[in-house]
């Protein structure tokens, strides 16, 4: 009952105070092109010998703050009872091959946009310590964020491929320019895997395009075309490869360790938090929502990949001797859970998968960021040296514990309803692999418990370098992510005035993400408010 209540939208559409005060038909374009414009403009500001480095950081911060404001308006005014796309923009682009600049979001897209907004501002805060080539760094970071926003908002496969591929160059340059000792390996692996994923996405798109008559790349046409099961299967495999390189899933996870361990912190946050979630979002949008035969045929295969990814990540984290490497592998777990929810193909599991896009992104970014900050403050990444830090790092201890709890999906965390919905929803269609995923989560719990005990609550290692707790700035960026996880965990339906159904300012992520899911799952019939009266 509780799960059903969480999964479904509120039975009556209640307007949120403030709705309709401000709206713009370009709300999605603003979230994409404002960062691009600011990134270009930043390069025209004279900055002799880094004199205005702080100004660059402030510009990036306020740009992200502005985007969060825009996205909050979009979130606040989102019509939860409309099944289709909202905030749509459509202009012809390459007309003769059927390419349109078509943007739009449904509930899942809006959820992802909110996630991207939170991650965007967090990444800037996490990058405050950057000292070298500050202007170039924030230019690339803004371009990376813009490409993620573009991929989320895209409603044309060309636009999706454009922004999907556009993320590769800034991400690789950020790793190459500001990464740790293994930055070369990290960057080239990122280019290789993400490049392969982009190629797979284009092949899948082109196969759909050719099979549907070659008239349009618009998702409304392409994803609703009647394709033969064989073509659907080919497209499905290509999309799975694209998603598995980005999310990542075993065995296409080769970039994870180096990139999450050796990227600058702000970049790790963006990649773990929002850029990698695009993989699962692609599966939801292009496979589960469109290719019915292929998704049914490939569902067991995807479930196997998800289960193996979770178990593998937990085992590697358990055996790791480097805290950042362990966290990098643990960050794979939420992605596996999300994909498993989509593979189960039940309304409840898909709804859980959509919520897990948000919670998994935050949990992955939080565990990576916490491990990064902790190792930075402890001056070592070596797990044998990191021991008994809790008394000396109370803030980081709290955040680390919250991150691990979010990974495991314990109650009060936003990931709890997501994981519960996925597991309950999937036992019906994928019982064996649901059990395997649950076993993987147990392994993750063991891994997390061992690491937490050793690093935070073990016997202090007197040979270890001196440690210090998180600074105010670090507390802010970690706190924003932890706070978001707790907020959605405590108020999944949004806070309401006591005794009423009137939301105060947040319509509730559960209500937002529910819009459009009914369209995705064919057998799922949404409740009809009129029929219940």
């Amino acid at each position: 009952m509780i799960l059903a209540g969480i999964a479904l939208a509120s039975p009556t559409p209640v307007a949120v105070p403030g709705a309709g005060i401000f709206t713009s038909p370009l709300i999605l374009s603003l979230s994409i092109w404002v960062p691009v414009a600011v990134a270009i403009a930043m390069n025209f500001i004279p900055n002799p010998r880094g004199r205005y480095d702080t100004l660059m950081k402030q510009i990036a911060f306020f740009t992200n703050l502005g985007i969060v404001f825009i996205l909050f308006i979009a979130y606040n005014q989102f019509q939860t009872f409309l099944p289709g796309m909202q905030y749509e923009e459509k202009l012809p682009w390459l007309a003769s091959i059927g390419v349109n600049y078509h943007l739009g979001v449904d509930g899942a897209g809006m959820t992802m946009m909110v996630l991207s907004g939170i991650i965007g501002i967090t990444s800037v805060l996490a990058s405050w310590g950057v000292r070298e080539r500050v202007r170039s760094y924030f230019t690339l970071l803004l371009l990376l964020q813009a490409s993620v926003n573009g991929a989320i908002a895209a409603h044309d496969m060309f636009v999706l491929a454009l922004f999907w591929g556009a993320a590769v160059v800034p991400a690789a340059l950020l790793v190459l320019g500001w990464g740790g000792p293994r930055r070369e390996a990290a960057a080239w692996r990122l280019v290789g895997y993400w490049g392969l994923g982009t190629a797979a996405l284009v092949i899948g798109t082109m196969t759909m395009y050719a099979a549907s008559g070659g008239s349009s790349f618009d998702m409304d046409v392409l994803l609703k075309a009647t394709l033969t099961p064989r073509v659907q299967l080919a497209v499905g495999v290509a999309l799975i490869v694209a998603a598995a390189t980005r999310l990542p899933l075993f065995p296409l996870h080769g970039w994870v360790r180096d990139v999450y361990s050796d990227s600058p912190l702000g970049v790790s946050v963006v990649i773990a938090g929002s850029a990698s979630r695009l993989g699962a979002y692609l599966l939801l949008r292009a496979l589960v929502a469109s290719d019915a035969d292929a998704s049914r045929l490939l569902a067991p295969f995807i479930a196997v990949l998800a289960a193996i990814s979770i178990g593998y990540a937990a085992l590697v984290a358990l055996r790791s001797v480097d805290l950042r490497s362990a966290a990098a592998h643990l960050a794979m777990v939420p992605g596996g859970i999300t994909v498993f929810g989509l593979a189960a193909l039940t309304p409840l599991s898909i709804a859980g998968g959509v919520l897990s896009l948000f919670t998994g992104g935050l949990a992955a970014a939080l565990i990576v960021a916490t491990a990064w900050t902790l190792t930075d403050r402890a001056q070592t990444r070596s797990l044998p040296l990191l021991s008994g830090l809790a008394p000396r790092m109370p803030i980081l201890t709290w955040v680390f514990v919250i991150a691990t709890l979010a990974l495991l999906g314990v109650p009060l965390m936003a990931s709890f309803p997501a994981e519960a919905m996925i597991l309950f929803g999937s036992f019906k269609t994928q019982p064996v692999w649901a059990f395997a995923v649950a076993a993987g989560l147990v392994l993750t719990a063991v891994s997390v418990a061992v690491i937490t005990h050793r690093v935070l609550f073990g016997e202090p290692n007197h040979d270890a370098p001196a440690v210090s707790d998180a600074s105010l700035g670090e507390t802010w960026y970690l706190g924003v992510m932890a706070g978001a996880l707790l907020w959605v965990g405590l108020f999944p339906g949004g806070p309401k005035l006591p005794g009423t159904e009137q939301p105060i300012f947040d319509p509730g992520l559960i209500n937002i993400m529910g819009a459009g899911i009914s369209d995705i799952t064919a057998p799922y019939v949404p409740p009809n408010p009129a029929a219940t009266q």
Partner: protein, 467 residues
């Protein structure tokens, strides 16, 4: 309006002649030559865009002005103008000859674009190639000779091919060839000359594995000379390939298999070689070869959307491959020659970076839009294997381009005492800075404002008689 159609050609040719004569004038009076040449090319481009939309034919059908000619001429004028503007003229051995030769090369491509028969195609191709030989010889006579010999082989192959096609169809007029081809069977005696013809064009375009002349020449020539060889000569060969492809439209069996193989080798080979090499100019040359492969792949689809997409990509290619080497100026000694360019010459650095990324097909630049359009044509024609190979090449190209962009923006500039002749910092002038900014705007705007450009390219393909 039809009287103005040849004004762009006249302007370009007149400017080239004046520049050649200016070579004898005192050095002081040549100071304004780059700016004047840029203005003339810009004026020619303006006239072309204004008057070029008129459909007409001149000299008894020997020159035809249609949408294809308009697009190709506009693209090549834009490329030549940007190359002249962005060139570091202090690094060119004979600046006025350089300007004259690039104008002459552009004129050659314009002749090909309007050519109504084999004579125009051949003459334009030879003119463009000859301009390249002259400019290369100014700095390196040995390389000029090498280019001349390789060009001679290419020319012979093209001539033999054209002669056999003429013998088979009984006409040198492209429209008549097309009509005659409809009644000719695709036989081996026809397929072999077509292969020779395409082989000659591949040598001209420097497609792998035929880059034996173009690459060393591209490396040893002056920046502008490299731009002509890598960009304009390749563009000339491609425009000839467009026209031949349209003329032999009823006989795809004698053309498409060769084009597909050439495209596959170029796309994969270009990407792999770009990834393997460390020299920026060699890398740019290989990236350009990979993109030529994409254009050839679009031609191989043998229908309007494919040719329209290829034509659209040709525009982005011509600009990046011609102006790219000029923007790099003397930085041909290795990656370290470009190190820190982003800090020292920001506008020029951005131009170089965008040229590399566009040739690699990285989004959201012109090259990506063109390659995606070609990819859609390949998918629609069922050539998914070629698409897969192209994407493999594109991934390698993108990795190679990231390497160069990294050197430009993320590496520290070399110590001034370590700067050799091959790592000389380009001289900063208002014209070169403006040219670099314009190059960036064109490469970025080509994709963003693709709607009218792609529509024109599509009309260009339609003008070739494709439906």
């Amino acid at each position: 309006m039809s009287n103005y159609v040849l004004v762009p050609e006249a302007l370009v040719m007149a400017a080239a002649l004046v520049l050649v004569l200016l070579g004898r004038a005192p050095r002081r009076s040549r100071r304004w030559a780059p700016l004047a040449a840029t203005v003339v090319v810009a004026a020619a481009l303006g006239v072309e865009l204004w008057a070029g939309s008129t459909l007409t034919s001149q000299f008894g059908g020997a020159l035809v002005q249609d949408r294809f000619a308009l697009f190709a001429k506009a693209a090549v004028l834009l490329a030549a103008g940007l190359a002249i503007a962005v060139t570091d003229w202090s690094d060119e051995g004979a600046p006025v000859i350089g300007m004259a030769m690039i104008l002459l090369a552009a004129f050659g491509v314009m002749v090909i674009a309007s050519a109504g028969d084999f004579v125009g195609l051949w003459a334009g191709l030879e003119l463009t190639a000859a301009a390249g030989v002259v400019l290369v010889s100014v700095r390196r006579t040995d390389l000029g000779l090498r280019l001349l010999v390789a060009g001679g082989v290419a020319s012979a192959l093209v001539l033999v091919g054209l002669a056999f096609v003429y013998a088979t169809t009984g006409s040198a007029d492209l429209l008549a060839v097309r009509r005659a081809a409809a009644s000719v069977n695709p036989t081996l005696p026809l397929a072999i000359p077509v292969m020779l013809l395409l082989g000659g064009l591949a040598i001209r375009a420097g497609l792998p594995p035929f880059e034996f002349a173009r690459l060393p020449v591209g490396l040893g020539a002056s920046p502008l000379g490299a731009g002509i060889v890598i960009g304009l000569v390749a563009a000339a060969a491609l425009v000839v390939a467009f026209k031949i492809s349209a003329a032999l439209l009823p006989l795809p069996a004698v053309l498409s298999p060769y084009l597909m193989v050439a495209a596959a080798v170029a796309m994969v080979g270009g990407g792999a070689a770009a990834l393997a090499t460390r020299s920026p100019r060699a890398r740019l040359a290989y990236l350009a070869a990979g993109q030529v492969g994409w254009i050839a792949a679009g031609l191989a689809t043998h229908y309007r959307t494919g040719l329209g997409a290829s034509l659209f990509l040709l525009g982005a290619f011509a600009v990046a491959a011609t102006a790219g080497p000029s923007a790099m100026a003397g930085a041909d000694a290795g990656e370290f020659a470009l190190a820190g360019m982003g800090l020292l010459r920001p506008a020029r650095a951005a131009g170089i970076a965008l040229a590399f990324l566009s040739l690699a097909g990285a989004p959201p630049l012109g090259g990506f839009f063109g390659e995606f359009a070609v990819a859609s044509a390949l998918a629609a024609s069922g050539a998914l294997w070629l698409l897969a190979l192209g994407l493999l090449g594109a991934v390698m190209s993108m990795a190679a381009a990231v390497g160069t962009v990294r050197a430009i923006y993320l590496q520290s500039p070399p110590d001034e005492s370590r700067r050799t002749a091959g790592a000389r910092l380009p001289v900063l002038t208002r014209l070169s800075t403006g040219g670099a900014v314009a190059l960036c705007a064109v490469l970025a705007g080509y994709g963003v404002f693709a709607y009218p450009i792609f529509s024109l390219a599509d009309q260009g393909a339609e003008a070739l008689g494709l439906r």
